[in-house]
Amino acid sequence: MRRLLHALGLLAVFLFAVFPFYWMVSSSFKTQNDILASPPVWLFQPTLDNYRQVFADEKVTRAVLSSLIVAVCSTGLSLILATPAAYALARFEFRGKADLWFWFISNRFISPIVLALPIYIIARNLGLLDTHLVLILIYVTFILPIVVWIVTDFFRSIPRELEEAARLEGASQFAIFWRIYLPLGMPGIAVSAIFGFIFSWNELLYALVLTRRDVQTAPVVATSFMSGYEIPWGKIMATGTVIVLPVTVFALLVSRHMVRGLTMGATK
């Protein structure tokens, strides 16, 4: 009985997450007449036309590739920079620790609209316009805080006894961080990696302002189809569907780390 309720609950979660997405995917296989038909159409003659349009224009595949490069690099870089910082915040004592911890997250507070101009000017002066690097660097500034925040709490929850044992054996701080905290902190790191990847993937304003032709990311291309008068519904829905796929794959790969794998009581 409990299993049944549990199953129904999970099913509800699944349907909630997926229904609008289902609507997007099914629309991507409809002709515009069907997408905009009243009352809405559930059974219809599917067409591959929208996808043909999307892939004929190699812009979309290039954009997905661009987004992939930027997302992987910015997330990876953020993880590398942030996890040691999280360890320091979790385990060391020093003056101003609480303020520093707060300062990290406050980097996400300011509206990108007013930062766009200075960043544009700097990027132009450094010759970084329309490069992957400039987007990677900017995205790091807002992925890093999230990683720090989630992983710090995670590290704090790891019992100190594990550390004591290693220290008695003469392990350095870095070794403790590397061999004990990172593996045990995987669920937190995994979640923040997923979030980082998603935020990088979806970011629109900086991508619009800083890219041109070579590095246009996926959201920019998807929105460029909104030319102000016409809305090619089918093409946009198809593009939207294509864009979601890499993220879902990434999440699939990472999500097995999200469940507790190692028991923490092992070294008691």
Partner: protein, 451 residues
């Protein structure tokens, strides 16, 4: 040697022009390769939109690049972000060579010195098309899209007119065999017979989504034909005049023949409502003709009728919209000249036919005298008729327009919702608008009253 060649070509042109007669095509072609020779290898940067007119020119680009050796790098951007990108670019010493100028941006771009007037280049015969023939453009388009303060800055490139699209079959079923000629007719005679709420059928739909759609398509459209306007001669608000109020009241009276929720309808919804047969008449941009004739996006088929917009007591003053291409004055001299060559080519009579057949809408008069073109595209006749007489300042094109447009959009939409009355809303718009114009300096005599 060079001057001999020039004289020979000039003579040839004179002869060709003399035998112009009925032939729409020009006999003499511009030796563009020669004109572009010093600029071979130059790269031009421009922003384009994902619209038919741009797709058409992109299709023809290889011909240009092959003939001149000048490469055109275009970047496709959502319309909502185009002005953003251009302004940031001009301010940040960016590298745009050509500016895509919506007609409402021309005052701003010109006054800030971001675009170069064409007289800077016209005098140089080595880069100017002998067939440039500014008179060959529709005067309204050249004036509205490309000129400011008496100078020409750009050539009309992507051109629209508001048109009345009507469902011939539905009109016939209601007893009408031609479209309404006046707004009064539309409201009092046609709409009541075409509206049946029980069947979810409506006579008319006016796209009114808050934003430029509300200020241009909805608000301004109902002012002009009634004799109203946004500003009077001294640039104070004219919204409280009898005629302007009549226009706004007209729109409120029309609400009962329009689908509910029309205040949240953008072009997509209006065109679709018409295409699905739910709405019998819409006044929309000419650019939607392809959408309405494509069976994949429209169920109208042969029932589609196209006519110029209805007239009001002040005459027929349809909605006017479009873009011009100008040379960005921040670009290096060499690039500017190459850009000038491109702009002339893109808007020339020589490629007009190819351009139209690729899906573009040219701003040249000659191409529309071609009977083949007239027959193939049924929107041509009403559009040409609409471009004979119109108001260049359908929307004021001065730098203050974006700020004023926001005010108009907000209150125009509130008026339609009934949150404020037409009078109150107009007063609000008037006050805010005048504050903006005062700050701009239009009231102390220092700034010329250009719109």
């Amino acid at each position: 040697m060079l001057s001999l060649l020039r004289h020979v070509s000039a003579a040839a042109i004179l002869m060709a022009t003399a035998t112009f007669a009925a032939a729409p095509a020009v006999a003499e072609t511009w030796d563009i390769a020669k004109a572009a020779a010093p600029y071979k290898g130059t790269q031009l940067n421009v922003i384009f939109l994902d619209r038919p007119g741009y797709r058409a020119i992109i299709k023809l680009l290889p011909d240009f690049e092959k003939a001149t050796g000048i490469k055109v790098n275009y970047e496709i951007v959502p319309y909502e972000n185009t002005r953003q990108k251009e302004v940031l670019n001009f301010n940040g010493q960016g590298d745009l060579s050509i500016a895509l100028v919506d007609l409402v941006w021309i005052g701003e771009f010109a006054e800030n010195g971001w675009i170069a007037p064409i007289d800077k280049f016209q005098s140089d015969a080595s880069i100017t098309d002998p067939n440039l023939n500014l008179k060959g453009f529709f005067p309204l388009l050249l004036d509205a899209f490309g000129s400011w303060g008496g100078k020409v800055y750009g050539l009309p490139f992507d051109n629209y007119s508001g048109l009345l699209f009507y469902n011939k079959c539905e009109l016939k079923a209601a007893g009408f065999d031609k479209p309404p000629a006046t707004w009064a007719e539309l409201k009092d005679v046609y709409a009541p017979k075409l509206t049946d709420k029980a069947k979810n059928q409506y006579g008319y739909a006016l796209q009114s989504l808050r934003g430029e759609t509300q200020s241009a398509d909805s608000f301004m459209r109902v002012l002009w034909p009634q004799g109203g306007s946004l500003l009077d001669k001294t640039f104070h608000s004219n919204l409280m005049s009898k005629e302007s109020q009549a226009g706004l009241t007209f729109r409120q009276d029309m609400m009962k023949y329009m689908p509910p929720g029309v205040v949240s309808w953008d072009h997509a919804e209006a065109v679709n409502g018409f295409a699905q047969g739910q709405v019998a008449m819409i006044t929309e941009w000419s650019a939607f003709y392809p959408t309405l004739t494509d069976p994949k996006t429209s169920k109208i088929g042969d029932c589609l009728g196209v006519a110029p917009e209805p007239a009001g007591p002040a005459g027929r003053l349809p909605a006017l919209g479009g873009f011009s291409l100008s040379v960005a004055s921040g670009a290096p001299e060499k690039v500017q000249k190459a850009a000038w060559i491109f702009i002339q080519w893109a808007t020339s009579d020589a490629i007009a036919k190819d351009y139209v057949e690729a899906g573009g809408v040219s701003g040249r008069t000659a191409i529309y005298e071609d009977p083949a073109i007239k027959a193939k595209y049924s929107f041509v006749e009403p559009m040409v008729a609409s471009w004979q007489k119109g108001v260049p300042e359908f929307r004021p094109r001065f730098p203050a327009w974006p700020a004023i447009s926001e005010v108009v959009a907000e209150f125009g939409s509130k008026i339609m919702l009934g949150e404020v009355s037409a009078e109150q809303g107009s007063k609000e718009i008037g006050t805010r608008m005048e504050t903006i114009l005062k700050k701009e300096g239009y009231y102390d005599g220092k700034k010329p009253l250009l719109q």
